[in-house]
């Protein structure tokens, strides 16, 4: 294959990139020569991949994540690795070991997280599109906060092979871009079955967005406009939903009663999985090594204490506790039951409606340092985690502003109806632009 080289020297004043590839190779193909940024928890052969953690400083993967391989095959130029909350644990990108990313719309505010670097890189026009990952909202939240489009695909639609796992059963790699078309194009490249990821389905995405939502029924869950949601944000989103009605969709109120368990189910599940996933970072095989003069368990403790940030340590400890003998039934098993009830709530609603719409985030982007209390930060995930628990596709598309900051309209669909979710977002985007 003929190889070309893209020179990439961005003015990264927002700390969006952890690694910049000044000379990015690319080839011919659908995305030939297009600069794509990749979140730093996605393995890139030959390019340092740290998950924004000190514990992986210097780790250069010997292999490409499947999504990255597909990107390269499509001709895209991988121009750099983007900043994030360490291992994806956060909603602000402030939990990066290498400093926070700033929101290009207001540098006094966070870009959202955990894919804040990817969102900022796109929003500031450093790249047209980027890969993010979404475990509990990590693509949609920064998309909403930075005023771009971000899609969490159906669980199993995009291979996770090479994505450094935080919470395997919840997360997906997904596209981020300035337009729904770009997001759709990127999804065309990365979706499909991968023999390296047993949880993928043979559901490639070949769709081109169609701005037609006539006759679609859209459910509006009361919980998405209730307590904890900034009324100004709710107002902007309601206006956007009115636009969807104008375009020929009908809306019906609906209810997701299991929402009251969703956050708890989410945080138990993700911390349990994380406590196991992150146990391998011990300094033996990669990352900064341990003092080999010490006994192995002393060395492990030292490496892990020095390598993990506060939020990561907190979640590892929470998950370890929740899986402990005697507590498993009380936490993990219960969380799975709650998760099932979220799934069945969605299944029930989707038997009557085609899509569900509401705000992506309950507020506009936080000020830097505003969410220093972890619990209040966890609460801000309430509108995004249900889609991860249920494995359904969900997109965030810009739908206006509050206090000059962007607001995201979230549209969710049935499993493997990413096409319909994209069409609805596209119809909205075309109508307002």
């Amino acid at each position: 294959m003929e190889s070309y080289e893209l020179t990439f020297e961005p003015d990264d004043r927002y700390n969006a990139f952890l690694t910049v590839c000044k000379k990015a190779p690319y080839s011919k193909g659908k995305l030939s020569g297009i600069a794509v940024a990749v979140k730093d928890n996605i393995s890139t052969r030959g390019i340092e991949t740290t998950c924004a953690s000190k514990i992986l400083k210097g780790y250069i993967p010997p292999y490409d994540a499947h999504a990255v391989e597909l990107l390269r095959n499509s001709g895209a130029a991988i121009v750099g690795k983007t900043n994030m909350d360490e291992f994806g644990m956060g909603t602000t990108t402030e939990n990066s070991a290498f400093g926070p990313t700033l929101n290009p719309c207001d540098t006094g505010r966070v870009p959202g997280g955990s894919s804040g670097g990817s969102a900022a890189a796109v929003a500031s026009n450093m790249v047209p599109m980027a890969l993010g990952t979404d475990t509990g909202g990590s693509i949609r939240c920064p998309a909403a906060f930075c005023g771009i489009v971000g899609l969490k695909p159906t669980y199993g639609r995009v291979s996770r092979y090479g994505l450094i796992a935080y919470a395997n059963s919840l997360e997906q790699i997904g596209p981020m871009g300035r337009t729904v078309s770009d997001v759709s194009t990127l999804l065309q490249v990365i979706a499909g079955k991968d023999r390296h990821d047993s949880t993928t389905y043979d559901r490639p995405y070949t769709h081109t967005p169609v701005a037609d939502i006539k006759g679609l029924k859209i459910g509006i869950p009361g919980e998405y406009f209730g307590e904890g949601v900034d009324p100004k944000v709710a107002g902007v989103v309601k206006t956007a939903i009115g636009k969807l009605e104008e375009l020929g969709a009908t809306t019906v109120p609906c209810s997701i009663p299991s929402m009251k368990f969703a956050l708890a189910a989410y945080y138990v599940t993700c911390t349990c999985e994380a406590s196991s996933n992150l146990a391998r970072f011990d300094g033996v095989r990669y990352g900064p090594g341990a003092d080999s003069k010490k006994s192995w368990h002393e060395a492990y403790k030292e490496v892990r204490r020095a390598g993990f940030g506060t939020e990561v340590r907190r979640r590892i400890m929470l998950g370890t506790f929740a899986l402990s003998s005697g507590y498993y039934g009380k936490y993990y098993a219960k969380a799975q039951i709650a998760r099932e009830s979220v799934k069945s709530d969605f299944a029930r609603i989707f038997s009557e409606v085609d899509l569900i719409a509401g705000p992506t985030m309950p507020s506009i982007a936080f000020k830097l340092g505003e969410k220093s209390d972890p619990l209040s930060m966890y609460l801000s995930d309430i509108l995004t985690v249900p889609a991860n628990l249920a494995g359904i596709p969900a997109i965030s598309v810009p739908c206006g502003k509050v206090d000059s900051m962007p607001v995201g309209l979230q549209i969710m669909g049935r499993p493997f109806e990413d096409e319909r979710v994209i069409d609805a977002a596209y119809a909205y985007e075309q109508a307002v632009s």
């Binding site: 390296h196 047993s198 406590s275 196991s276 498993y328």
Partner: protein
């Protein structure tokens, strides 16, 4: 059950002899290669790598389940067993926990009292092998360990028995029978170093049980359990309590050592492996065609070759031995099988064990020839053993080999036939030199005749035909009596 009845249950881990590892495409044939040469992102546990189940390993495990009469569950699932250790690259082992591949089943073994005994099984599950630590260094330079992940991800099955065995010997018989069954199924190679590991639970009736870990050989099981029986019975005799604990078997010294410490009290925090889908393979069971298994082959050896129960048991107790026997007698099953059964099951095995020699190095054609010669009666049994020893030594020492006929001719071992003069001379000498034996014989002591037979054999260097010798000696003694 006796007051101090020994109760034993086993957890047996066997490496499945698949070509590639359980969750990646790496080759399992690592034993002759350097460390960390059979590895990839998956079995190295590199960040982001994901397991993909090797279908063949599940087929192998299901063969075992079917052969051991287990019930394959409608849904089984992989779980993570979380613990830190440098040989475990992901810091968790992918194994099966509350939804194993199969449950129940049994294995029949020969009981200590003779006859068959049914040992019930609890479950069979599939899991991955961890890597291996190689301990280096010395007192002066300091000790350190190196890690080799070639073994990481090799498929294992764990077969858990109910506490149904009643002695260390029965435990060993269980293992031997299990090994034979797995080898007949072509899913296991017991010759591969480290292919088997056993944890044993042992208690004396009415007392706490002790888990003995780190047993890596067939003999080791009996040794470790025998040591434990003595240790536990001694404690009870002295009125002390047996503590529920985990002990490690030290193969070199044959003892077990308590390994109880806070560090090793694990809480494995099992939970379902989110990167693998649940298994629904029950429907495969019907399609599995089992080969002839040890019990069936034993019955066939008795029916087809007229083997005694004991010979049939020994010969079919190892796949290679059973195949060897059938190859030896193939040319003339009717004529050779009785003699071959005795010579192979009794004599050959003993001679091989004495030399620590592998059956594979024995020349089948040579054994067939030797047994044919024995059948013709042109050499004595004693000479037969001499010939066999020469044959084995030549192979064992890598010397040029000879056929049995050549050995017999070179050593002049052919039986003296027709001309009895040499034997008669030897008989006369033996009687004359041992007047005491003559007296004893006259007094009716049976041992005297055997003694004289031995003396004559010595003088004729074993070439005398025992039947003929007996006849001639009795005649000679009768003459003396007259």
């Amino acid at each position: 059950m006796a007051e101090d009845q020994v109760i034993v249950g086993l957890e047996v881990h066997c490496q499945l002899d698949t070509k590639s590892k359980l969750f990646c495409g790496c080759s399992t044939d690592y034993r002759d290669d350097g460390p960390n040469t059979h590895v990839c992102p998956v079995c190295l546990g590199l960040p982001g790598a994901m397991p993909v189940l090797n279908k063949r390993s599940i087929e192998y495990a299901m063969k075992v389940a079917k052969a051991l009469n287990c019930t394959v569950l409608h849904e089984s699932e992989f779980s993570r067993k979380n613990y830190f250790y440098p040989d475990l690259d992901k810091a968790y082992q992918i194994t099966q926990y509350d939804k194993p591949l199969a449950e129940g089943g049994y294995l029949e073994i020969e009981s200590d009292e003779g006859g068959e005994r049914r040992i019930q099984l609890t479950r069979i599950h599939v899991e991955e092998d961890p890597g291996r630590l190689v301990h280096m260094g010395n007192a002066e330079r300091g000790k350190y360990s190196l890690v080799d992940y070639n073994r990481a991800g090799i498929p294992l099955i764990e077969i858990v028995s109910e506490p149904d065995m009643r002695s260390p010997k029965e435990a060993r018989k269980f293992l031997n029978k299990l090994r034979a069954t797995l080898e007949y199924l072509s899913v296991f190679d017991s010759d591969k170093e480290g292919s088997l590991r056993v944890d044993a639970n042992i208690s004396i009736k009415g007392n706490e049980r002790v888990e003995v870990k780190n047993i890596t050989s067939y003999k080791g099981v009996e040794k470790a359990l025998t040591y434990e029986v003595t240790r536990q019975k001694n404690l009870i005799r002295r009125g002390q309590r047996i503590e529920r604990e985990t002990r490690h078997f030290i193969e070199s010294t044959g003892i077990t050592q308590s390994s109880r410490s806070k560090e090793q009290e694990h809480d494995y925090r099992y939970f379902p492996e989110p990167d693998l889908r649940p298994l629904h393979v029950q429907s495969w069971v019907a399609g599995i065609v089992l080969p002839e298994l040890p019990d069936a082959r034993r019955e066939r050896f008795m029916a087809q070759y007229g083997c005694s129960l004991n010979h049939a048991r020994t010969l079919t107790g190892e796949l290679k031995l059973a195949n060897f026997f059938e190859k030896v007698v193939a040319a003339d099953p009717k004529g050779l099988s009785t003699l071959a059964a005795t010579w192979i099951a009794d004599t050959l095995i003993g001679e091989l064990n004495y030399r620590s020699m592998n059956l594979e190095r024995v020349d089948t054609a040579g054994i067939t020839e030797l047994i044919s010669i024995l059948k013709q009666g042109t050499i004595t049994d004693k000479s037969g053993i001499d010939v066999l020893r020469v044959m084995l030594d030549q192979r064992h020492n890598g010397e040029p080999t000879e056929t049995p006929a050549a050995i017999i001719s070179r050593l002049n071992l052919a039986k003296t036939t027709g001309d009895n003069s040499a034997i008669l001379t030897a008989i006369e000498e033996a009687i004359t030199e041992n007047p005491r034996a003559l007296e004893d014989y006259r007094a009716g002591k049976g041992g005297a005749l055997n003694f004289l037979v031995g003396q004559v054999m010595k003088k004729t260097r074993g070439k005398a035909d025992p039947g003929e010798l007996n006849r001639l000696l009795t005649e000679a003694l009768a003459k003396r009596e007259a």
